[in-house]
Subunit: 182 residues, 2 copies
Amino acid sequence: MKLLYATLLIRLFHMKHRSLDTMNCSLARTLEIVGEWWSLLIIREALWGTARFDMFQSRLGIARNILTNRLTHLEQHGILAKTASAENRRIYDYRLTEKGSDLFTSILAIMQWGDRWIHQEQGPPIQFFEKSSGKEVRQLLVAGPSGRRVAIGNLDIRPGPGAEPATVRRAERAKDEVRTGS
Amino acid sequence: MKLLYATLLIRLFHMKHRSLDTMNCSLARTLEIVGEWWSLLIIREALWGTARFDMFQSRLGIARNILTNRLTHLEQHGILAKTASAENRRIYDYRLTEKGSDLFTSILAIMQWGDRWIHQEQGPPIQFFEKSSGKEVRQLLVAGPSGRRVAIGNLDIRPGPGAEPATVRRAERAKDEVRTGS
């Protein structure tokens, strides 16, 4: 019974891996790289300045083998860069690349959703402020370069230049079905 | 050998589940609910108007047992609401709640990261525009109610009202270490 469950888990694991990286969808292909619990938490730690294996390990309470595996994966995808540390050439620093730092917006979006819907009673554990003004940082959806704020009910979905034929059909069909508010 | 690998996978699975929902972090606790490939893709489909089990199944190419499991999970967490359809009371509609629709910002952030870093050659498969103006929708980090745009190097991290003592210490230590640009 345990073996059956285990075999099923392995199959699910491979099934997910096969299908996502061929999907014509930036969300699916990004999730393939970072859409797993530990990856985004490792990137969060790196954004906060953690660079050494042992510090990632103790700050996240993550098993060493999983951490090794995740750091290698993120390095292979160009999200973290590994360099020998200045003090000791046998110790490595993992730093976010530009591609990695650019995940900050996604992390903030997910974190602030959690602040609103999971942590609403206690209030946010962590907040971000603009250094110069001291004002709290929020995310906005804006339209065009002028930066006018967009109401969520006023969104239109369209196939982009990278759309394959099936995506074009799917987007056209979704046009009138889009739900962005309850 | 296969059994060893399988047992390891099961242990990883449980280990992840135990640690995240007790972390004093809105990112970790949100990932516990939606930080898995299929959940966010199901929510994306629901945002695009998909409501029926069979449509989720064919549009995502997801196995029926995984889909059943994920829909139940999202319903239990108040992200989807299940109602008998108007035409046939034996068929159910899954619609996003307000809590679920509010994940749109997170999905857009992740999707646009993928557009920039994975799909950059082909261009975005899908784009969002403001209906009334026809202008493309982007995300901005803004400070305060006036909505002034924040430079990513100008971010300050602080413990919030929901911070536990360890989070306060962690945030204070992170203050000078924060990396938000390469």
